[in-house]
Symmetry: C2
Subunit: 340 residues, 2 copies
DNA sequence: CTGAAAGCGCTTACAG
DNA sequence: CTGAAAGCGCTTACAG
C-alpha cells in the first residue's frame, strides 16, 4: 500500500554488475554499447519494471519535459468547449512525445500564474490559447526567452503561431449572407465581443472584406463591438428587430446563445423573420432548433498542431512561423431562405 | 532574447561569501540562521531575481510539487463545463500552494495517460474528476501507493473523496416534482446515461428514495438507463409523450439538451404540456427558454476542496475521508404549474 | 549560527 | 565497448 521506493539506475547497474553509465546509455541509445549488454539491461528493466526518473533525467539535461498551456479563466461559457477541446488535443500529442501538460489560467490583465510557472522553471515551452492585441503573456515569454507558440494570431512576425483563417472564414460567411435575398435587401447587424481579443478583430476584418469585395459600403453603424453585458446585447437586438434587419451575425457563441434565447422569448421566428449565424460552432448551435449556421474550427486539431510546433521549437528543429488550418462553413436552417 | 542561464544557489553563495547551505536555509527557513545573514541573502536574491529551481528542490526532497488531474476525454458536451470549472478551481488552489497541475485525459477503459505520468514519477498526488463503478484509475493508484482523492463517490472507504450529495439532491428534486399537480397525477419519466459512472447511479438512488419516502411504488418501467445514442433518447421521448407523461427528468445535461431540442421540434410546450428538469445545471439550461429546473453543484468549489484535501494528504496532515458539499435546487419555469 | 560533504537519480565529457 | 568522475541545482544530516 505504501509507495514502494522506486528502483533506480544504480540498482540496475549493481544487479547487472555494470556501471550506471552503461545502463544509462543502453536505455537512451546514445553512445556505443554491445548488443549483448544492451539486451541484458533491457531484459532486466523489463522484468523489474524499472522506469527512469524523468525529473532526474530532466535535471541532468536542463529540461523538464513539461509544456505549459495558458488558457483564459473567465466565466464565458459559449467559447469554453473550444479551450477544453484544444487542451485535449495538446495533451494527447504531448503525451505521445513523453511530454506532460501543465495547466495555467491567465487573464488579459493577470498573468501571474504563467509567471510563477515559468520563473519556477517548470516548463520547456508554452502554448497560449488566446491572444490579445496587447499580449502580456507573449511579451513576458519573449523577455524570458522561453519558446512558445500561440493558438491564434499575433501581429508579431517573430512569434510562432497557429491559427484558423478567421478573417477569410468570416468573409465567406458574410458573402454568403449578403447573397441571400434578405441579406441583400435587408441589412445585417453584427454583434462582437471584447476588442482586445485578436480573433474578434480578425472577424471584423473579414466582415468588412466581404462588403468590400462586393463593392457595397459597409454599414459601420450596425457593427457593435466590445459587447459584454447581456442587457446591452438585448437592447441592440430589440432595436435592430424594430428597424427590420435581415440577419444577426454573432461573432462568438456566448453572444449567439443570448440572441437565440432572446428571439425565442420574443417569439421571433428564425429564419423566417430573421436569420442568425455565428462565427464559431459549438455544439449548442448545432443542437439548437433551428440549427444555426456557423463556422467550424476544429479545436483538437489546432491544439495538436500547436503542440507539434512547440515540440519542434524545443528540439530546435525548424518549424513554420505561421500555420493556417482549414475551417468549414456550415450552412444550416437558421439562414435558410424565408418564405420570400 | 536567448534564455539567459538562470542564477543558481551557488552563484548566490559565492557572491555573498557564504555556503550554499546557508543560502538554502535562509530561503527555506529551516535551521537557525542569524537575522543578519538571512537579511543579506534576501536582499541579494531580491535584487538579482534569484528563484530556486523547483525541480532540483524536488529531486532533493523526492517531491515534484505537481498534481495530476485526470478528466474524461469523451465528446460529451453537456457535462464538460463541469470539468473545465473544476479544473480552474484546482489550478487556483494548487498555484496558491506553489503546486502545479498536470493534465491527464483518461477513459474508463484506457488509463494509459495516467499510468505514464505516475510511472514517470512526475506527480505527488492525483485528483480523479470522474469515478466509475469499477474504477481502474483508483485501483491503479492504490496499487502504486500514490495519494489521491476523487471528485465523486467511490464505494471504498479507504479512498478520500469529495462530492456533492447527488442522491439527496435528486431526492429533493423528484420529491418536488411529485408534489406538483402533474407530477403526482401524471407519471414522470427518467432518462439516465452510462451506468458505469457512479454519479449516475447515485442519482437513481435518489429518485427511488423520493418515491420510497412518499410510499409511492417506483415506476421501474419509466426509468431508462445507459442511454447513449440520440436516436434511443428520441424514441423514448416520443413514446413517453404519447403515453402522456407529466414530466421528463434528465440525469445529465447532454440528455437534457437533446430532450429540449426534440420538444422544440415537436412543438411541445414546456412546462404547459410537459415539465422538464435536469440533475446538473450548466449554463445551457439557464439560457434555455423556458429556463430549466436543475440542481446546481458548484464545480470550482469542488475542485478547490479536492485540491486542498490532496495537499493535506501529501503533507501528511489529517484530512476527512469523505466530504459532502452543499448543492442548490433551482426551481425554474420548466416545472411551473401548468394552466390546470 | 555556519559549513563540508553526501545525496536525490540521472547524463555526459573524458579516458581507457 | 565500458567506467570513474563530475555535474544538473537543490537539501540535509552531521560536525563544529
Amino acid at each position: 500500500m505504501n509507495r514502494e521506493k522506486n528502483i533506480t539506475i544504480s540498482d540496475v547497474a549493481e544487479a547487472l554488475g555494470v556501471s550506471k553509465t552503461t545502463v544509462s546509455r543502453s536505455i537512451s541509445g546514445k553512445g556505443r554499447i554491445s548488443e549483448e549488454t544492451r539486451n541484458r539491461v533491457f531484459a532486466y528493466i523489463q522484468e523489474h519494471h524499472y522506469k527512469p526518473n524523468v525529473i532526474a533525467k530532466g535535471l541532468a539535461q536542463s529540461k523538464t519535459f513539461n509544456l505549459c498551456v495558458a488558457m483564459p479563466g473567465d466565466y464565458a461559457l459559449g467559447e469554453l468547449p473550444f479551450f477544453q477541446e484544444a487542451l485535449i488535443g495538446i495533451q494527447q500529442e504531448a503525451g505521445a512525445a513523453e511530454y506532460d501538460v501543465l495547466l495555467c489560467v491567465c487573464q488579459e490583465d493577470d498573468i501571474s500564474a504563467l509567471e510563477r510557472i515559468v520563473e519556477n522553471q517548470k516548463v520547456d515551452g508554452v502554448i497560449l490559447l488566446r491572444t490579445f492585441v496587447e499580449d502580456a503573456q507573449a511579451a513576458f515569454l519573449a523577455r524570458q526567452g522561453v519558446p512558445f507558440v500561440t493558438a491564434g494570431t499575433l501581429e508579431d512576425e517573430t512569434v510562432f503561431q497557429v491559427d484558423h483563417d478567421h478573417e477569410r472564414a468570416c468573409r465567406e460567411l458574410v458573402t454568403y449572407l449578403l447573397s441571400k435575398e434578405r441579406g441583400g435587401d435587408l441589412p445585417l447587424v453584427f454583434l462582437g465581443g471584447r476588442e482586445s481579443i485578436v480573433v474578434n478583430r480578425k472577424r471584423i476584418d473579414g466582415i468588412r472584406g466581404a462588403y468590400g469585395a462586393l463593392g457595397i459600403p459597409f454599414p459601420e453603424e450596425r457593427l457593435y463591438r466590445g459587447l459584454v453585458s447581456d442587457g446591452e446585447i438585448e437592447r441592440i437586438v430589440r432595436r435592430s428587430l424594430q428597424e427590420g434587419v435581415g440577419g444577426i451575425v454573432c461573432l462568438d457563441d456566448r453572444i449567439c446563445t443570448l440572441v437565440l434565447r432572446l428571439l425565442r422569448q420574443l417569439s421571433v421566428a428564425v429564419p423566417e423573420q430573421v436569420m442568425v449565424a455565428s462565427c464559431y460552432d459549438s455544439a449548442i448551435l448545432e443542437n439548437n432548433s433551428p440549427a444555426v449556421t456557423a463556422i467550424s474550427f476544429p479545436a483538437r486539431e489546432l491544439g495538436a498542431v500547436c503542440c507539434r510546433q512547440l515540440l519542434k521549437r524545443i528540439e530546435k528543429e525548424s518549424a513554420g512561423r505561421r500555420i493556417l488550418l482549414p475551417h468549414k462553413l456550415l450552412l444550416r436552417e437558421s439562414t435558410k431562405d424565408g418564405p420570400a
